[in-house]
């Protein structure tokens, strides 16, 4: 396995960098600056994973996030990049049944994993019940956070069913209920700047009652 990117300095690298800068940089260099050696080619690694039931094998730059592997390499653009820093939740997908922020995870960490994205939940012709409920209750506006919201919503109802506690769970000994407060708390990692929260809560409540 390849280690972290090597920053070994080579004479050839320095010469190449120097030549390049002389040829193309029209900006005067300040005094005392030291040339940075050119970096070696990026490390690549093979990764096999199952995405929406389909086996995939990728040979990726080890710096590629799971999010960018999905969006840029597999062209599964339903998963969104909102912040790339784990702050907004737009990139939420399910890995081995648990939701994660795919921007905070490197693709190469997922060898052998099963990934479910919004495309794996349903299609325009064959919607997942949560997708249908979002449409019914208008739980979205611009649509950009929506795939993440829906992946989270599906996972949240499952977490409640399995009795996984949250910050607002009052009673850990009895069967957990999908209350409005429980759902809102658990969904709070998924930001919707359009502010569809009230409608998302209603879409989720419909499915929580049905299940």
């Amino acid at each position: 396995m390849a280690g972290p990117i090597s920053l070994k300095v080579t004479r050839r690298g320095i010469l190449a960098g120097g030549a390049m800068s002389a040829a193309v940089s029209q900006v005067a260099l300040a005094k005392g600056q030291v040339e940075t050696p050119s970096a070696p080619p990026p490390a690549h690694q093979k990764v096999r994973l199952t995405v929406n039931g389909r086996d995939r094998e990728l040979d990726v730059d080890t710096r590629v996030t799971l999010l960018d592997a999905l969006r840029e390499h597999m062209k599964l653009t339903g998963t969104k990049k909102g912040c790339d820093h784990g702050q907004c939740g737009a990139c939420t997908v399910m890995v081995n049944g648990e939701r994660i922020n795919s921007c905070l995870s490197l693709a190469v960490m997922h060898d052998g994993d099963e990934v479910t994205t919004i495309e794996g939940l349903g299609t325009p012709e064959n919607l997942h019940p949560m997708q249908d409920a979002f449409i019914e209750y208008d739980g979205y506006q611009c649509g950009y956070c929506t795939p993440g919201q829906i992946c989270s919503a599906v996972a949240v109802l499952e977490e409640i069913k399995q009795g996984v506690p949250s910050h607002v769970t009052q009673d850990l000994s009895s069967k957990m209920q999908p209350t409005n407060l429980e759902m809102r708390e658990r969904m709070s990692g998924n930001i919707c700047r359009c502010g569809a929260y009230s409608n998302i809560a209603e879409a989720m409540a419909k499915l929580a009652v049905e299940s």
Partner: protein, 731 residues
């Protein structure tokens, strides 16, 4: 088609499809992740490579030197475009500082380089080894210290922005009660979920930008101005936007750098502004300082009102018009409104959802709450006694349709306002201090010329093409409803194509004018298509009845498919009769809040808005516009603030962790009521926008509720607990 007199009965009044709660037609795409946003257009052009933006590390000064040699030698790097090597680009609409080029730095995180590489990771890595040496200059970064010497704002129309009616000072001093308070609102960020993004591709002289932009026709011209090229050689395509809120009204650095990078690399280039750049690189809602002076009689009638606002911007930037609603909302013979504009070296301020009025209500509507308390009067009643049907400082101008009093009465009734505890800080529910607050709301109802093309195919299917955008507002659906209504076809027989500059120019999405304007343009095109069908089949298209894909005419009928394939364009323009009216939207807003008596944390329990905005084209998406604006109001009131580093001149909390917008846990169930009104002045649709009305006032309702709960009046937004924790009632 020119709209030159208030509407009588027209085709739209059948209202078989418009006005009915309708699921969004783009819902199946958006909920399955198959609606394509700008950065995701893998299929539009082959060979796309990646651009990564470097932002300036100083707020004001000069680039002394930039060394890109190491970056150029990095693997995968195809081109580096640097500001010092690029002549400053031209300015498009709404650009204050040049988006790129030259050695001068106008604000922090102004773009200074783009690295283009085969992959995103390579571009990012290479950008990190660019070395920049700056000459830092002193700048002005503090509105409070710049405001006292700031001149009157002249950026709207060239004249000093001050309006006097009667003798404010004399009337104020003679008034039975006087209120004189100062309020501050912070810089705010749009923080839309989709970062600004563009893919650029050149074909000879021709540039195509697949982008995320609210205003296609404006910005086709702006790209021409910015890149010094013929607008006819520019195509913009923006069928889906992940939010805008005014932040995507104009061309920004993503589009410019994608275009420059694509030219330099000889490949199509995609650029998404990195989230941490957005807050300082792009525009924001400027902070304000506002002073309100109100004099009123014992009966609550306002005799004197003065609202003055101070804001700051870069040289050449416009000021925030925080006093706009004060010129419209309440009666009173003696008046003064003024805006002052200071020069600051912070990132550029510009329009964010209801510019001016969103911040203005945060001061005016709290001042009204304070006035009501001084008068020992119900805040709802105070607003009712000061209602007016003519514009207070232009009495010859009447409101086209104003039902604020109905909003207030109906809102109070529905919310249970009569049960409000009248003693601030005096109601406990267990550990919670409970309070209720309310506010009135006003936002103008603009409309603008808008065009569309409507095609009929041989199967009777109707396709609408217009460069209108859907920024989450529901444009796709209301445009489909409009075409279905006027052409007499089921909604599912209509296809809507938006956002392409190759389509007829619409009014675009901004200033809550989009819904009213774009549907009027589609209406005009549909009327022309009906006439074209009539001409072909031998009847008067205006007199025929189009219904259920059939056409009934005097003495016969046709199937719509008898017309074969036809297409028509149309544009709605507006006569100056509208100058005799003030066209506005009105609302009442209510909020119940709970404040933890021990920790000071606040939680919204209930919110209600009652809106008067003419015909509601689709109650489903209109309600969503309002609840979304109410949520944004909660953020503006309680948490959102771009924190200014006054030493180095930038917004410190420039990401989604530091800039705190509301999350699920912050927002309860929200109620919205639309009055059943029609405004015959605005357009044949008689419909006005609501997307910005919803952020005009709920802010103050939350602030007033917090006061009612705690008995503590905080006038510096956001109302974070550190500003009142030490003054909470003893527990």
């Amino acid at each position: 088609m020119e709209y030159n007199a208030p509407a009588g009965k027209n085709l739209f009044d059948n209202a078989k499809v418009v006005g009915k709660p309708t699921r969004r037609i783009d819902g199946p795409l958006k909920t399955t992740g198959t609606a394509p946003y700008a950065y995701e257009r893998h299929d539009v052009v082959p060979g796309q490579v990646y651009g990564y933006v470097l932002g300036a590390g100083i707020a004001k000064g000069r680039i002394a030197a930039m060394d890109v040699s190491a970056a150029r030698a990095m693997p995968g790097v195809l081109a580096i475009v640097t500001a010092p090597d690029t002549k400053p680009v031209g300015k498009g609409m709404g650009n204050t500082a040049p988006l790129f080029g030259g050695r001068d730095i106008a604000h922090y995180h102004q773009a200074i380089a783009l690295v283009v590489a085969e992959t995103f990771e390579q571009a990012r890595a290479a950008s990190s080894v660019i070395r920049v040496e700056y000459e830092r200059q002193k700048g002005a970064f503090d509105l409070a210290s710049a405001a006292p010497g700031a001149p009157l704002d002249t950026t709207r129309g060239g004249e000093p922005d001050q309006v006097r009616t009667g003798d404010f000072e004399a009337a104020y001093h003679a008034a039975y009660v006087q209120l004189d308070e100062r309020y501050t609102t912070p810089d705010e960020s749009h923080a839309m979920m989709e970062p600004h993004a563009s893919i650029a591709a050149w074909e000879g002289e021709k540039l195509t930008l697949w982008t995320s932009n609210q205003m296609i026709a404006w910005n086709k011209g702006s790209v021409g101005d910015i890149l010094d090229m013929e607008p006819d050689n520019v195509r913009l395509d923006s069928p889906y936007l992940g939010g805008g809120f005014g932040g995507k009204l104009f061309v920004r650095a993503d589009a410019v750098l994608a275009a420059l990078g694509a030219k330099a690399a000889g490949r199509p280039v995609k650029v998404m502004l990195q989230r941490p750049l957005i807050y300082n690189n792009t525009t924001h809602r400027p902070a304000s300082i506002q002073r309100l002076r109100i004099g009123a009689g014992k009966d609550g009638r306002i005799s004197a009102i003065a609202h003055e606002g101070w804001s700051g911007n870069l040289p050449g930037g416009s000021g925030e018009n925080t006093v706009q609603q004060t010129r419209q909302l309440y009666a009173g013979d003696h008046r003064l409104t003024a805006n002052y504009l200071a020069t600051l070296d912070l990132p550029e301020g510009n329009a964010m959802r209801a510019p001016g009025e969103a911040s203005g209500h945060m001061a005016l509507e709290v001042a009204m709450d304070e006035l009501a308390e001084k008068l020992d009067m119900c805040p709802v009643e105070l607003r009712i006694v000061n209602d007016t049907q003519t514009v207070p400082d232009e009495p010859e101008i009447k409101f086209s349709d104003r039902n604020l009093v109905r909003c207030l009465r109906e809102g109070a009734e529905r919310f249970g306002w009569a049960n409000r505890n009248k003693t601030p800080g005096g109601l406990r529910d267990g550990r919670w201090l409970i309070g209720m607050g309310m506010a009135a709301g006003y936002r103008n109802g603009p409309v603008g010329k808008s065009a569309a093309r409507v095609k009929l195919d041989r199967r009777g299917r109707v396709t609408v093409e217009t460069d209108m955008t859907d920024i989450g507002t529901g444009s796709y659906t209301i445009i489909a409803q409009t075409a279905a209504e006027v052409m007499g076809v089921p909604l599912k027989q209509v296809t809507v194509r938006l956002g392409d500059s190759a389509y007829p120019a619409s009014a675009g999405s901004g200033g809550q004018w989009g819904a009213a304007s774009s549907t009027a343009g589609v209406y005009a095109a549909c009327v022309n298509l009906r006439r074209a069908i009539g001409e072909k089949l031998g009847f008067d298209g205006d007199a025929a009845t189009f219904d259920n894909s059939r056409i009934a005419v005097d003495g016969g009928s046709f199937a719509l498919t008898d017309a074969g394939a036809l297409s028509a364009t149309g544009e709605m323009t507006y006569g100056d009769f509208q100058d005799d009216y003030s066209v506005g939207t009105f609302a009442s807003h209510f909020c119940e809040i709970a404040v933890d008596a021990y920790t000071g944390e606040s939680f919204i329990r209930r919110m209600l808005s009652v809106c008067d905005a003419g015909r509601i084209l689709n109650p489903v998406s209109a309600r969503s516009q309002v609840i979304g604006a109410m949520a944004m109001s909660v953020g503006a009131t309680l948490t959102e603030e771009l924190a200014v580093d006054k030493r180095f001149g930038f917004f410190v909390n420039h990401d989604m962790a530091g800039y705190e917008v509301p999350v699920h846990a912050d927002i309860p169930h929200q109620e919205v009521v639309f009055l059943d009104t029609l405004d015959p002045v605005i357009s044949p649709m008689k419909a006005k926008g609501v997307g910005e009305l919803g952020i005009c006032g709920p802010t103050a309702a939350v602030a007033n509720a917090l006061y009612n709960a705690t008995g503590i009046r905080v006038r510096e937004y956001p109302l974070t607990l550190d500003k009142y924790l030490d003054r909470l009632p003893a527990v």
